[in-house]
């Protein structure tokens, strides 16, 4: 996660629901009402890069209260967590958030969600195995004899298509790496045989 990492920057533009804890005259624009003050208790969806610091920052009074409190975004809501517990492979994570795991990691930095960590870990492990399976199938050993250009094609047919469409960015990267790895391995083996 470097400062220049594009995916990390895009992850931080994911929005989470926040509630302001005090009246702020100049921030009405955050709630689409630039002319009016932002009232305490207003719920606003804020991008992570803003919400994160506002949650952590201490407003400086004796109680050490934060400027805002936050809730879990719908992408990590109870429905989704229950569905993931039932079968991690059946949930299209991309529809929840293109940076699903990134969002989850950020949220766990902000709150102590022991169960969430376990669910996400199990989700990733289960899905990673499935991703690897598909990555090897596509243009891999199964496609022998169909010409070399088949191997470079990322297009997928059949039952796996729906699952692969639902991969989040991180899983997509994993898929591409697994796919390219299998392909290069195959190419190298063929090169060895020739000489």
């Amino acid at each position: 996660m470097s400062y220049y990492d594009i995916d990390s920057i895009l992850t931080q533009s994911e929005k989470i629901p926040c509630t302001f804890q005090l009246d702020i005259p100049d921030l009405g624009y955050l709630d689409n009402t630039p002319t009016q003050p932002l009232k305490a208790g207003t719920k606003v969806n804020l991008p992570l890069w803003l919400a994160e610091m506002l949650v952590i920052a201490n407003s400086g009074d004796a109680e050490g209260k934060s400027f805002v409190t936050f809730d879990l975004p719908p992408a990590l809501g109870n429905d989704v967590v229950q569905a993931l517990k039932a079968d991690p492979r059946a949930v299209p994570l991309r529809d929840q958030s293109p940076h699903f795991y990134g969002l989850g990691t950020h949220m766990m930095d902000l709150s102590e969600e022991q169960e969430m960590a376990a669910v996400l870990r199990k989700t990733f492990v289960t899905r990673a195995a499935e991703v690897a399976l598909h990555a090897r199938k596509v243009g891999g050993v199964g496609h022998r004899g169909k010409g070399p250009e088949e191997g470079s094609n990322l297009g997928i047919g059949g039952a796996g298509e729906e699952f692969l469409r639902g991969l989040d960015e991180w899983e997509r990267k994993l898929f591409r790496k697994a796919h390219d790895g299998a392909k290069s391995g195959k190419e190298w083996m063929e090169g060895v045989k020739k000489h």
């Binding site: 400062y3 220049y4 990492d5 594009i6 995916d7 920057i9 895009l10 931080q12 533009s13 005090l22 009246d23 702020i24 005259p25 100049d26 921030l27 624009y29 955050l30 689409n32 630039p34 991008p47 890069w49 803003l50 610091m53 506002l54 920052a57 407003s59 400086g60 009074d61 400027f67």
Partner: protein
């Protein structure tokens, strides 16, 4: 309603797309300017917010102002990160292009040939690089040339693929003038065909002057 940081986000989405492209898309001059302007506006806001306090601002007494300042500060910081990441993605790409032997002028040609920039971008053979990027490209090229110059018997930017054959057939796609080889000079005129040593012409193939046959 647009919010601070939205434009910066757009810029980063451009960078994301750039990562997956073989060529370098046009520099987003307008967007970069707009983000920089946003930073200046935010800075002005901060200055005017702090002005009445005459340098003795107490965050715990003025919580609402403190929060506004924090939001402004974070927005500026976010914009800075977006701007830097956008430019870094592009310079990474430029360095890659230098190593692979591309030419800035070639890039400008591709831009006009591709026709995806619309009639405005195409007129006057405009480059997809900003003037600063062209400078960067040129100077990085010089650096690389100086670095490569330390070894005369090895070509650092040569192909990593071991050649199957020492000699290959090539067709000349555009005039490249005369080149010197171990076996004498060859005059590369358009549409002519030669049987040459691969090592002698690798560069010209990468630059698109020659096409490898067979």
């Amino acid at each position: 309603m647009p919010m601070y940081g939205d434009l910066g986000n757009k810029l980063v989405q451009h960078a994301k797309r750039t990562q997956n492209l073989a060529h370098l898309p046009s520099y987003q001059t307008e967007l970069v300017r707009a983000v920089a302007r946003e930073v200046r506006d935010l800075d002005k806001d901060v200055a005017s917010l702090l002005e009445p306090f005459q340098g003795s601002f107490d965050p715990s007494a003025e919580q609402a102002t403190a929060c506004t300042l924090l939001v402004n500060h974070l927005s500026m910081r976010r914009n800075k990160r977006c701007l830097l990441a956008y430019h870094r993605t592009r310079t990474d790409k430029l360095e890659e292009l230098v190593w692979s032997g591309s030419d800035v002028l070639d890039l400008a040609g591709q831009q006009t040939g591709g026709g995806n920039g619309g009639p405005v971008a195409d007129s006057g053979g405009s480059s997809s690089l900003s003037p600063q990027e062209e400078d960067y490209f040129r100077q990085y090229g010089d650096l690389l040339a100086a670095y490569k110059g330390q070894w005369t018997d090895i070509d650092l930017t040569g192909s990593l693929e071991p050649p199957r054959d020492l000699f290959i057939d090539v067709r000349v796609l555009k005039d490249a003038g005369e080149i010197q080889t171990e076996y004498g000079a060859i005059n590369l005129t358009k549409n002519s065909q030669f049987y040459v040593r691969q090592g002698d012409v690798e560069r010209l193939i990468a630059q698109g002057y020659l096409q490898k046959l067979g």
